[in-house]
């Protein structure tokens, strides 16, 4: 029993949270349609967090993530307003984001600058570019319905956004757990020097990880815009800490100390479920914060049950 709690503590925490909320509000929270809806609400956060997972697999941070989300939203609307067709606009946004990611990754790995400060700097630059493109204003209007459908409606009974999450989680899971690329990333993250001496190319692999993260962040910017029909130059600001919270929750969930895809998805789900459940129960914002913090703390502490002291 304690073994089980240790191994899957955070997953158990998620299930426990769902059960408690379902009992507290069987009709509203526990309904199938709400549970499905939570998967939609968690999608954007989860995708940013999945990007962060890839970067954390190589043992780095990417703080430019939030800026790139904002950039993605603003730039796609900017291009759409210029009359660029939606698919091309999306492609261009992702391409520029890939470039941003490549710069961050190269600086971090080639010159061994601490990723925390390097990506804070690149993030600030990207934020400036975003403000410049948008003139600091929220951009809206002229967004074709076809574009907006990317994040609206349902397919085969599930919300379109949920499909995005499923697809991306699957792709990145293959990337990290099945492909050689993933093994290399984890080797670098586990022991950079050992990986290097064993012939793993540090610069190109680290750079690639940052590119993946940047592209996913920009995609979230695009999807967010499609979802809400407008783009704000600070729209991504809320994702940074929450996304990393999801990754760190996930690190305690499965493989101890290693960012991993299933864990991140569980982490994002915990955050989404808490927000959803507490709002449905009509808990006031102040109390929501206190409860959220307490639940997260308990979720990471549960693994420590029966563990030795420091």
């Amino acid at each position: 029993m304690t073994g089980l709690v240790r191994q899957y503590g955070t997953l158990i925490a998620l299930i426990a949270i769902v059960v408690v909320f379902s009992i507290a509000s069987p009709g509203a929270f526990g309904s199938m349609s709400n549970l499905v809806n939570i998967t939609q609400q968690m999608t954007l956060l989860a995708i940013v967090a999945i990007g962060a997972t890839v970067v954390m697999a190589v043992g780095e941070f990417d703080l430019s993530t939030a800026s790139i989300v904002s950039f993605g939203g603003i730039f796609v609307v900017y291009l759409l307003k210029l009359g660029v067709p939606a698919p091309l606009a999306c492609f261009l946004v992702l391409a520029v984001a890939a470039l941003f990611g490549a710069v961050s990754g190269y600086v971090v790995s080639r010159f061994q600058v601490l990723s925390f400060i390097a990506t804070l700097a690149t993030g600030t630059i990207i934020g400036g570019i975003t403000f410049w493109v948008s003139d600091g204003a929220t951009l809206l209007g002229d967004i074709p319905a076809g574009f907006r459908d990317m994040a609206r409606g349902h397919m085969l009974g599930l919300p379109t956004l949920t499909w995005w999450l499923i697809a991306i989680a699957l792709v990145v899971w293959i990337l990290l757990d099945k492909l050689e690329f993933g093994r290399r990333l984890y080797a670098i993250g586990g022991n950079r020097e050992a990986a290097r001496l064993a012939g793993v190319r540090i610069v190109s692999n680290t750079t690639a990880a940052f590119v993946v993260s940047a592209v996913l962040s920009a995609l979230v910017g695009i999807l967010l815009t499609a979802r809400i029909g407008s783009a704000s130059p600070t729209g991504g600001g809320g994702y940074l800490l929450t996304a990393y919270a999801a990754v760190f929750l996930g690190m305690t969930a499965f493989r101890e100390g290693e960012a991993n895809l299933p864990g991140t998805v569980v982490g994002a789900a915990i955050i989404a479920v808490i927000g959803n459940g507490l709002t449905i129960l009509g808990v006031s914002t102040f109390l929501q914060d206190i409860i959220t913090g307490t639940i997260i703390l308990s979720a990471v502490l549960v693994r420590r049950i029966g563990r030795g002291a420091a």
């Binding site: 492909l179 690329f181 080797a187 020097e193 290097r196 001496l197 100390g257």
Partner: protein, 504 residues
């Protein structure tokens, strides 16, 4: 008796690390504690330092039973430890490292750095006069780190018991000799010393008594006088020692590795060397002489300011480790914890990481197959007789010698043209050492050039066809055949004007 341990038992999950270990140590004696890798030596020591709490058994100090529950309690009893795994704070220099967890000399409320330095320098003068005291530990060589640990344990207030867990694993003759003198001096002052080592000759030389552990239990104990090396080995392993003897001179083939005019050392000299097919070139030198640096330069892991390295006639680009591997290069680093193993990943992944294309599920797809990963690990297990559980276990659950074999296993399966070995048997027991030596010989016999560094004189003599001796970044002697004798090697190692103290 200063210390008496009876019937000590300890389990880690399913593994039995100690199963009735006994040990008695008298004040003023040097007590050798020996046993194969995984016999439980370090675990026994950790029960004394309060890091491990035994499941059963009792520990008596001066005849009184005692329970040690923390490092601080152990220190309060006058116990000092040099643990097997180097544990220094990388940013701290030798002086600061020596005082971690200790009472600092103070001037008023402030720490007195000058006094700290004086205290450390006094101890260092006897043990390691050449050790730089103001370089952060992260930049020291493995051997230098080891010296810092030793200084830390010997420094300052009077100890009653000093425990040394493989203090000489990466020291060469000169440093080891100074340590031996210090150990004798301690004993003469009435301090008890527990000395753990896989270098049995060293144990025979400096210990008064010994205890042998086998599978967690005491397999024998006695006084050193009249006990032979063969006796010790029999007690440790249950069978006779397999001696490897001197190498036969190979039919040296065409040159495989050629290093030309590589700038080396502080004084702008350059270095050239050649290793041919089937040949083992051994490098020897004192701690910090620059052997590891040279190997890293050849491997492309450290910057060079010029010079050329050829492998089978092809110029190797500096920094491109991948290209060396493609051309049949292989490298076993000195520090398996920090430079060798990715400790958070499984054994299977650790042995596959240098060439993942070998474990593809389909040759054309960059997809790693779990089945093939496991198969490769199993293959290496049988080829190198690695004692391990599942291929998916983490490498740190293995004992030191088996971890070391994994680093060799990494290069198996491909054609090895150049094998670079930096301290290939550090911390490895005699049995496993012989196995590793056999592996190295086999690889050489298959036509690889082997470049090896070792601090262990016996190993150097056992394996090398030729020997190059380093002192302060220069080759001071190149020896071949009958000329390879310990006196000549040691003489060359100390042959340098900047060395303050000639060989004793």
């Amino acid at each position: 008796m200063l210390l008496e341990i009876k019937g000590l038992e300890k389990r880690f999950g399913g593994a039995r690390a100690l199963a009735g270990a006994n040990l008695s140590v008298a004040a003023g004696s040097v007590h050798g504690l020996i046993g194969e890798n995984g016999a439980g030596k370090s675990t026994l020591i950790k029960t004394l330092s309060g890091l491990v709490r035994p499941d059963a058994g009792d520990i008596r100090v001066d005849g009184a039973p005692i329970a040690i529950s923390s490092v601080r309690e152990a220190e309060a009893l006058g116990f000092r430890f040099i643990h097997q795994e180097l544990s220094l704070v990388p940013q701290f220099d030798a002086v600061e490292n020596a005082f971690v967890g200790r009472a600092y000399p103070k001037r008023g409320p402030f720490i007195d750095r000058a006094a700290m330095r004086r205290a450390v320098a006094a101890t260092a003068a006897a043990i390691a006069p050449d050790l730089p005291l103001d370089v952060p530990a992260g930049r020291l060589t493995t051997g230098q780190k080891q010296l810092v640990e030793i200084i830390r344990a010997l420094m300052n207030e009077p100890a009653r018991l000093v425990v040394m867990d493989e203090p000489t694993a990466s020291l060469s003759e000169g440093e080891a000799r100074r340590l031996h003198e210090a150990v004798r001096a301690l004993a003469a002052r009435g301090v008890a010393v527990i000395y753990i080592s896989h270098r049995l000759d060293e144990v025979a030389e400096i210990c008064d008594a010994f205890t042998v552990l086998r599978n967690g239990a005491t397999a024998g104990t006695g006084v050193m006088q009249g006990t032979t090396r063969a006796d010790l080995v029999r007690m440790m392993s249950g069978h006779e020692e397999i001696t490897s003897g001197r190498p036969s001179v190979p039919a040296v083939g065409k040159p495989v590795l050629e290093v030309r005019d590589l700038p080396f050392g502080q004084r702008g000299n350059t270095l050239s060397l050649t290793v041919g097919e089937g040949e083992i070139l051994g490098l020897y030198g004192l701690v910090g002489a620059g052997r590891s640096s040279l190997m890293k330069m050849i491997w492309g892991a450290r910057r060079t300011e010029g010079g050329t390295v050829f492998l089978d006639g092809h110029v190797l680009k500096p920094g491109d480790i991948h290209a060396r591997i493609r051309r049949g290069g292989a490298y076993v680093p000195e520090d398996r914890r920090h430079e060798g193993l990715v400790t958070a990943r499984s054994i299977a992944e650790n042995v596959a990481i240098s060439d993942l294309s070998r474990v593809r599920s389909h040759p054309a797809l960059p997809v790693t197959s779990r089945g093939r990963l496991a198969a490769r690990a199993e293959d290496i297990r049988t080829q190198l007789s690695v004692k391990m559980g599942s291929p998916w276990a983490l490498p740190l659950t293995l004992s030191g010698g088996n971890q070391q074999k994994l680093l060799f296993g990494r290069w198996f399966g491909g054609r090895i043209r150049l094998l670079i070995l930096d301290e290939p048997t550090r911390g490895v027991d005699v049995g496993a050492k012989a196995e590793i030596h056999a592996i190295v010989r086999r690889i050489a016999a298959e036509g690889a050039a082997v470049l090896m560094t070792t601090s262990d004189m016996d190993e150097l003599l056992a394996l090398s066809h030729r020997v190059a001796v380093f002192a302060n970044g220069e080759i001071t002697a190149r020896l071949e055949g009958e000329a390879i004798t310990p006196p000549r090697i040691i003489d060359a190692a100390f042959h340098h004007e900047t060395r303050r103290e000639p060989a004793a």
